[in-house]
Assembly symmetry: C2
Homo-oligomer: 345 residues x 2
DNA sequence: TTGAAAGCGGTACCAC
DNA sequence: GTGGTACCGCTTTCAA
C-alpha cells in the first residue's frame, strides 16, 4: 500500500509537503499540489483514516447504539441524528445489539473508537457506560436513567399530553383494561404505565394485577407472544393498553388469528404513533408527538460536538443548550382511530 | 489520558510487558499481569483502539452501507450479517445514506476505515467502489451490478419461482394490470418487472406503457405518492403489481384513503414477503424466499474474512465458497393472501 | 514554499 | 519473564 512516504520519495519531496498538498492546505504551491495528486493517483494511494485519527486524536465519528434499527421509532431518530451530525461534518454510524450482539458496542465504548456515543437501548450495561465516559468521550443515554460523570441522560417528558389513550378508552365506557408492558427497562413503558394507573385512579377503577402483563421486549414478536398468553383471559376484559405501538400491532395480529375482532370484541390502544399504526386494519388508536422532535436531536448533536471540540462557543452557550435539552418537551396528541370501540352514547 | 507508557512508568516496567499483560498474553507472570491491570484501573487507562488498528493494520470492522436500515428487507439481512460477523469475532456497523447523506460512506470507503465493505444501495457511486476496492479491502455489492477488481458482486437470482404474482393475478382473471417500479436502479425492481412483462407476454396480454409507473424509491412514502398520482386511472385497471411489498403497502394506504376497496375495486400484489405484508388488512399477496437466505450471508461473511485474513483456509476453500455464492439460489414461493380478488370460476 | 523531525498509542520483534 | 526499540501512516510545529 502506497503511503505519503512513497509519494514523497517518488517526487523528491518531504512527507509534510505531501500531506499538506493532499489536504489542500494553502501553504503549498498549486504546481506541487497538482504534482502530488497526480502521483497519488498513479501510485493508487489511499489515505489511512486511522493513522490520521491517531495523530489528530479525533475520530470524527458519532456512534449511535440501538437494539433494533428497523423499528420505525428509531428510524426517525436515526434520520434526525444523521442529518445533524452530517451538518456538523461528523460521521454517523449505527451499532445494532439485536440478538445479544454487543461485542461491537462494547469494543467501541471501551476503546474509545468514536468521539461520542449515543445509546438508546438497555442492552448496554450501566457500568460500561459510567466507567468509560470521559470529558473527551461523552456518552448520551436516552430512554433510560443512567447517572455518571460525562454521561448525559435525557428523557424528555411528555407532560403536555391532553388526554391519555387509556383515559380515552375509559371515556368510551371501557373499564376492564389490561396493560402490556414492553421492554420493562424502558422509560417509555413506565411512563405509559404510570399514565394508565393514573387514568384508572382518576376514574376510581381499581387496578387488577392479573391484567398487567410484560412482553419482555418491544418488537412485533414480543407483542404477539404475550398476547397469545393472554388469550384465556381475553373474554374477561374490555380493552388492552399496550405500552408501545409495536407490541400493540403484534398483539392485534395474534388476536385476529384467534378470531377475536377488534374493536367489537376488544379495544386496543398503543403509544407512539408509528407509521404502521395507521396502515394496519383496524387502524390503531394511539398518541404521539406533534412538536418536531428533530429540534431535540439537533440540539443534542450540537451540544455533543461543542463539547468534543472544546470550542469557545461551548463555554458560551453550553448552559443554554443543556437547559434546552433537559427541559425539552414534546407535546403529545391523542390520535383516535378505529381500534377502540366507540361509545354508543 | 493515561496510556500504556504511563502504566509502564508508574510500575517501572516496560511498555511491551504492559501491552502483553493487558492483552492477557501468556508470557507475563500472573503477578505482574494483576499489577498492571490494577494500575490501569487506577490510572483510568483506556486502550486506544485506533492506535492498535494502525499497528496491526486491521480494523476488525465490516461495514454495511444501506440507504434505509429501517426497511424490513434490510433488517433481516442486517441480522444475518451481524450474526455472521460476530461469530467470526469481527465488528459490524451500519452506515445509512438516507437523505443523500453519503459523506460517511465515502470517507469510510476512501480512507479504508474498515476491513471490508458490503454495499446494498445505489446511493454509492460505481466509481468510488471500483477505485477503492483492493486485495486487502474487498467491497461486496448487492442488489446491483458493479464490475471491478476486488469488487464482489452477487445478485442471487430467483429463478426457481414457480409462479409469479403477476401470473397468479392473470390466473384469477385479471388482465389490466399496472406496474409500479420502486427504486429504478435496483435489480429487484427490474427482475419483478421482467417477470411482469413475461407473464403478460405468456398470456398474450399487450403491455400498456401508460400503466407503468415509477415510484422513484422504495419506502412506504414512495408507494403512497406514486399511487396518489395513479388515482385518475385506477378505474381503468384491474390490478397493480408493485415491485416491492414496501411500496405496495404505501399504495394500499393511499387507495384506502380514497375510498377504493381492495380487492373488490382493485387487486394488489407485492414482492418480498416482508413481515408487514401479513399484518396489514387486507393482507398482501406476494412472493418471497423460502430457502434460508442466511446461508448466503453467512457464506459471504466467511468468504470476506478468509480473504482479509489471507488465511490458508482461504486458498483451500475460496473456490468453493465463491462458487456457492455466485450460484446461490433462493427458492421463491407464491404467497396467496387477501389483496387479490379471487376468480369466481 | 518546503523540509526535518517529533510524536499519536499501541504491537511485535529481538535481545537478554 | 521482561526490556529496548523500531515501526504503523499521518499531522503539525519549527526551522530553513
Amino acid at each position: 500500500m502506497a503511503s505519503i512516504k512513497d509519494i514523497a520519495k517518488a517526487l523528491g519531496l518531504s512527507v509534510s509537503t505531501v500531506s499538506l498538498a493532499l489536504n489542500d492546505k494553502p501553504r503549498v504551491s498549486k504546481e506541487t499540489r497538482d504534482l502530488v495528486k497526480a502521483k497519488a493517483k498513479e501510485l493508487k494511494y489511499v489515505k489511512s483514516g486511522i493513522a490520521a485519527d491517531l495523530q489528530r486524536k479525533r475520530t470524527n465519528l458519532i456512534l449511535f447504539i440501538v437494539n433494533d434499527a428497523s423499528r420505525s421509532f428509531f428510524s426517525t431518530i436515526i434520520n434526525h441524528l444523521q442529518r445533524a451530525t452530517s451538518a456538523f461534518g461528523y460521521d454517523f454510524l449505527i451499532c445494532t445489539t439485536y440478538g445479544n450482539h454487543n461485542a461491537t458496542a462494547e469494543r467501541f465504548i471501551k476503546e474509545h473508537r468514536a468521539d461520542a456515543i449515543i445509546i438508546y437501548t438497555s442492552t448496554v450495561a450501566d457500568d460500561l457506560i459510567i466507567e468509560n465516559a470521559r470529558e473527551d468521550f461523552p456518552i448520551v443515554v436516552l430512554g433510560r436513567e443512567v447517572t455518571g460523570d460525562y454521561v448525559y441522560c435525557y428523557n424528555y417528558s411528555n407532560t403536555q399530553e391532553p388526554l391519555s389513550t387509556t383515559e380515552y378508552m375509559i371515556s368510551q365506557g371501557l373499564r376492564k383494561i389490561a396493560f402490556v408492558k414492553g421492554s420493562s427497562a424502558s422509560l417509555g413503558t413506565s411512563r405509559t404505565f404510570n399514565k394508565y394507573k393514573k387514568s384508572l385512579e382518576d376514574h376510581q377503577i381499581p387496578l387488577n394485577q392479573n391484567w398487567i402483563f410484560d412482553a419482555g421486549g418491544s418488537s412485533y414478536r414480543h407483542g404477539y407472544e404475550i398476547t397469545e398468553k393472554m388469550i384465556p383471559i381475553i373474554s374477561e376484559i374490555d380493552a388492552i393498553q399496550y405500552s408501545t405501538d409495536d407490541i400493540a400491532i403484534g398483539g392485534m395480529l395474534c388476536l385476529k388469528e384467534h378470531g377475536i375482532h377488534i374493536p367489537e370484541d376488544i379495544s386496543i390502544a398503543g403509544k407512539g404513533n408509528i407509521p404502521e399504526s395507521n396502515f394496519i386494519s383496524p387502524s390503531l388508536t394511539t398518541s404521539g408527538a406533534t412538536k418536531e422532535a428533530y429540534l431535540f436531536y439537533e440540539g443534542l448533536v450540537h451540544y455533543l460536538i461543542l463539547m468534543i471540540e472544546k470550542s469557545d462557543e461551548y463555554a458560551a452557550i453550553s448552559m443554554q443548550l443543556a437547559h434546552f435539552l433537559s427541559h425539552f418537551n414534546s407535546e403529545e396528541q391523542l390520535i383516535i382511530r378505529e381500534s377502540v370501540k366507540k361509545s354508543v352514547f
